[in-house]
């Protein structure tokens, strides 16, 4: 079963590879002219076409591209002439820091919050949680980001306005630069997870075994423990699906907080028509999404012995 689940990721990644490869060929017009930009001469375009192998038949270009990928070669950035893998490596730390901390923050806050809302369903607490989640889904990340900057960095000079400090330069500056971006980004993720936790816990609380647990005199916390364990699988699934939301949010947040991460890199690359970089970031983020969801699916056995034994 585990093997079948792992094998199921292969067609997804194959489709992603084809889509990412075709990206540049699907555009109307000559890809070489597109890469060369508006100021290029016909000679420039012809030279570029030859160096990039764009004069080869399409299937051969694809085969060569996949072969290079398989060797870990993501290509060379057209704009900076630096290997894409080196570019990505430079930008990885800020992006991973934001994404990781945000996810941790969201899980730690959202699951108790959602459980509380389910336990007190219909009360003002429950309503407040639901209102918060609708608002968090509607207010754009960048507006909240600027509100946070304006309040906690400009009006109250508690935190740095923007920028990033490497972990190697000390834990204090690293954390203080990450507080606002992570709180900013976590809001949407918390809204999503809280809603899902509330819904599943609410459903589980109707089950017979919960009534039994209550009848035999278990305390509220012990009952909720039972409920959470049984609600774990849908919640974990939502954490995985939310990864797409998280990666998309990182791209925007990095611009708001002027953080030199992968998201900023991809936006700059669009303006520079630097396709190898864009393609690599797409592949990388799809890879992360597929991998995290695979790991989550495989972890279901940890929460639920029924799945482990099946």
């Amino acid at each position: 079963m585990v093997l079948r689940r792992i094998a199921a990721t292969l067609p997804v990644m194959a489709v992603v590879a084809v889509l990412v490869f075709l990206l540049i060929h699907l555009s109307p017009g000559d890809p070489a002219a597109l890469i060369a930009g508006d100021l290029a001469t016909t000679d420039d375009i012809a030279r570029l076409r030859a160096t990039l192998g764009l004069d080869e038949p399409l299937w051969r270009q694809f085969a060569l591209w996949v072969l290079r990928l398989a060797h870990g070669d993501l290509g060379t950035s057209i704009f900076t002439q630096v290997p894409v893998s080196a570019l990505l490596a430079q930008r990885l730390e800020p992006t991973l820091s934001i994404a990781g901390l945000t996810m941790a923050l969201a899980i730690v806050l959202a699951i108790p919050l959602g459980t509380l809302a389910a336990q007190t369903a219909g009360s003002w607490i429950d309503r407040a949680v639901m209102v918060f989640s609708v608002l968090a889904f509607s207010v754009p990340v960048f507006l909240i980001g600027y509100l946070l900057i304006w309040t906690f960095a400009i009006r109250l000079p508690w935190l740095p306005v923007q920028g990033y400090a490497r972990l190697a330069d000390g834990l204090g500056p690293w954390i203080s630069h990450l507080v606002l971006p992570c709180v900013n980004l976590a809001l949407v993720y918390i809204a999503l997870l809280t809603r899902m936790t509330r819904a599943t816990v609410l459903e589980v609380l109707q089950e017979d075994y919960i009534r039994t647990a209550r009848a035999k005199g278990l305390g509220v916390l012990a009952v909720l423990g039972h409920a959470l364990r049984n609600a774990a699988v849908p919640i974990a699934t939502t954490v995985g699906v939310g990864i797409a939301l998280l990666i998309g949010g990182v791209v925007v947040t990095e611009t708001v907080f002027a953080i030199p991460g992968i998201g900023r890199l991809v936006v700059d690359s669009v303006q520079r028509h630097d396709y190898p970089v864009i393609q690599s970031v797409l592949l990388l983020s799809a890879g992360v999404y597929v991998l995290v969801n695979l790991l989550i699916d495989l972890s279901y056995g940890l929460f639920d012995p029924r799945i482990r034994d099946a």
Binding site: P11, V12, M13, A14, V15, V16, V18, L19, L23, I24, L26, S27, P28, L34, V134, L135, F137, S138, V139, P140, V141, F142, L143, Y146, I149, W150, I154, V161, R195, A199, A244, L245, I247, G248, V251, V252, T255, V266, V267, S269, V270, Q271, H273, Y275, I278, V281, L282, S285, A286, Y289, V290
Partner: protein, 305 residues
Amino acid sequence: MPDAELSARPLGVAPIAATPAAIEADAWRAPRGRWLRKHPMLVLGAILLLAMAVVAGLAPWLATHDPQDLDPLARLQPPSLEHRFGTDALGRDVYSRALWGARVSLSVGLAVAVLSGAIGVVLGLVAGFVRPIEGLVMRVMDGLMAIPGILLAIAAMAVTRASLATVIVAITIPEVPRVVRLVRSLALTLREQLYVEAARAVGTRLPAILWRHVLPNMMAPLVVQATFVAASAVLIEAALSFLGVGVPGQTPSWGNMMAEGRNFVAVAFHTILYPGVLLALTVLAINLVGDGLRDALDPRLARQL
């Protein structure tokens, strides 16, 4: 417009044994009141959205200045009687630009919802009813969904020249799989229904079955999904423009305005705040309509989330 459509369809709450005059009166009063009482958030969202649509439609008449007019002597001014929302870094009137920005956001939301709805229905029905193609369509959709929506739209903008039309297409691409998945899963249930089987048994052709029996029965969840797609499209458009890869820079869109205000957070926060609040209100309105419609049209679904 959604408001009129909603109140015109009381969904079977109109009294049956009433005089024609009473029916006429009730059609105007009772159902409307009942809608308000049963789905206050839906009505609130619809009113908000309607207001935003009026603002967008009447932008040329409501605006106090030309949205492109530069006034180098009045740069980054705080809100005043002359400039209700203040001025931006080039001395343009933020209030007038914000009104015009409503046009961009609403047209992108509507266009993406309609476009991805149409494409999604066709692909979803094909996947649900034509077995050999199902695997291929769904695998492509899985692949599209593995790439975060904003990134996919950003990448699509990389290969085209920025315009309102290309932005709409770029946002439609990541939204299509969400519709396809919904339509296919509905199609899988609907094709087992007795009335579909009966239609097939009497020799109705597939296109006619789909058009007459399947499509009408998936309209409710489809409309709900379309509103959520619209909300997401409005947000992604603003994000693309904010990042500098959306509609062309000189177009007054909320995302562009916020991008231009980026370097003046400390000195002129109003240049970011006003377009941002309008954007948030618009998305909130669409989400409220979506949540409300879901609760109103399908009580079973409402209980799930």
